[in-house]
């Protein structure tokens, strides 16, 4: 359930609102559930609300984890 997507914050439009961009589609959403949001951050958006920030370092690490899957469980530990 819970269709949610990572989208980039392109503008802070109010104390608790921001505009996100997803491949050129823009929408104003609420950031009331997340603190310290800045332009350029990525947030996970669900029903018009940001739920959390996306940790870009972790995202990179996860992609590397996928790539190393071929090396076996020891390498992934």
């Amino acid at each position: 359930m819970c269709l949610a997507l990572p989208a980039r914050i392109v503008e802070l439009t109010g104390p608790e609102t921001a505009r996100i961009d997803l491949s050129g589609v823009r929408k104003e959403i609420s950031i009331a559930l997340v603190d310290d949001v800045a332009v350029g951050d990525y947030v996970i958006v669900h029903v018009g609300y940001a739920l959390t920030k996306l940790d870009r370092d972790e995202a990179q690490r996860t992609l590397e984890l996928f790539a190393s899957a071929g090396l076996g469980p020891e390498a992934a530990a």
């Binding site: 609420s30 559930l33 739920l51 996306l54 790539a67 076996g72 469980p73």
Partner: protein, 382 residues
């Protein structure tokens, strides 16, 4: 789309598929339940089953808040719109769910009820502000992902003194449902479900964190891997579960580290705790009464609680006699095992909860898996 497309890469999928195939032990099967409807959808949409070895079977869990919404609650929503003349704001997912008397919210709308499809509960607030002479009710559904926005809407309505707005609350809880699957007496009567592990929901976990799942891992000795929403996330999670099962471990692991922490979103959880409290029991379609599995609005916000405001009386409505959704939601039977699957019960005319939403086990199998079973020589996983 950044942070989306990279997690859908086909070449990486093949690497992960090969790893899974290499690590499954030949002498055993792996029954893994993906709790979340979004994961069910991803598995179907990307044809993930084609990439898994035959010994890995994905069992679709009850993590679809539309599927598990009892008919009686939809009847209540229709009543509010049709008989009490409110503007009923709802997410589109509920519009076509069949309720009593051959009605649905869509059909009630066709007969003149003011039912409005919205994308966000903020839209319901806006409608209430724009139409001060109408009573506006927001039909709130969803697991823990969707609950914080509802909490915000209620707090906003209170803060601005919005007098014509209320919420019909049907929010349900993930850990309670998982517990119920693992331990309810009916499940024991039907035979222990041979579930080896769980893929934990992605976005619910961004809110509640990974901590709540530690209970299952410990108490029931079942591994849980929280997985992101994209197909590579699901495959990686399956690999991690296979490893845990092979090594006899039962831990909570987090694959979705880019969005999930152990504590989750404290701010969101705090807002939910401010507005909602646990119901002692709540009926889940297909699962029966599940204790401490759903939320109600606290009495401090009684004026914003549609159930109290309109004196809504809940009348349970049993499912069709031949419906096997209960067993399917618990992973004991498969859609194809149901006598009415694909005949009397189809996506156009769903008899039970599993066929209602596109992520329900039966709807997913009907849309994506049916052809696989029809093709001779192919495995049937869906």
């Amino acid at each position: 789309m950044k942070y989306i497309d990279e997690f859908r890469d086909g070449a990486t999928a093949r690497t992960l598929a090969a790893a899974i195939a290499r690590e499954v032990r030949p002498e055993r099967r792996y029954h893994l339940m993906e709790f979340c409807g979004g994961h069910t959808h991803a598995i179907s949409r990307y044809g993930l089953a084609d990439l898994l070895p035959g010994s890995v079977e994905m069992v679709h869990g009850p993590g679809c808040p539309v599927c598990v919404l009892p008919i009686g609650r939809i009847d209540n929503a229709i009543e509010l719109a049709r008989d009490r003349g409110v503007v009923l704001c709802t997410y589109a997912d509920t519009m076509r769910v069949p309720a009593s008397e051959g009605l649905s919210l869509m059909k009630a709308k066709a007969r003149g009820a003011d039912v409005r499809m919205i994308y966000s509960c903020a839209d319901a607030l806006r409608i209430a502000r724009d139409e001060p002479r109408r009573e506006v009710v927001f039909f709130a559904i969803g697991f823990e992902t969707t609950t914080p926005p509802t909490a915000l809407a209620i707090l906003e309505a209170r803060r601005t003194g919005l007098a014509n707005f209320s919420v019909f609350c049907n929010h349900v809880l993930t850990p309670a449902a998982i517990t119920h699957i693992l331990e309810s007496p009916e499940v024991r009567d039907l035979g222990i479900v041979p579930l080896d592990g769980f893929i934990g929901p992605a976005h619910v976990s961004t809110v509640i964190g990974s901590q709540p799942y530690e209970y299952f891992a410990e108490e029931y000795r079942k591994p849980v891997v929280i997985a992101g929403f994209e197909p590579l996330d699901v495959m990686q999670a399956i690999l991690m579960l296979v490893r845990q099962v092979n090594e006899g471990r039962a831990e909570v692991e987090n694959e979705f580290t880019r969005a999930v922490t152990r504590e989750g979103n404290a701010k969101a959880k705090g807002l939910v705790a401010e507005v909602f409290e646990l119901r002692r029991s709540f009926e889940w379609r297909g699962l029966g009464e599940v204790p401490y599995s759903a939320l109600a609005i606290k009495s401090a916000y009684a004026d914003l609680d549609a159930e109290r405001r309109y004196g809504i009386a809940y009348r349970p409505v049993p499912d069709h006699k031949a419906c096997e959704c209960g067993a399917i939601l618990r992973g004991v039977k498969r859609p194809a095992d149901c006598k009415v699957f694909g005949t009397a019960c189809t996506p156009e005319n769903p008899l039970g909860s599993c066929m209602v939403s596109s992520e329900g086990a039966c709807a997913a199998h009907y849309a994506y898996g049916r052809f696989r079973s029809a093709t001779p020589g192919e495995r049937s996983h869906a």
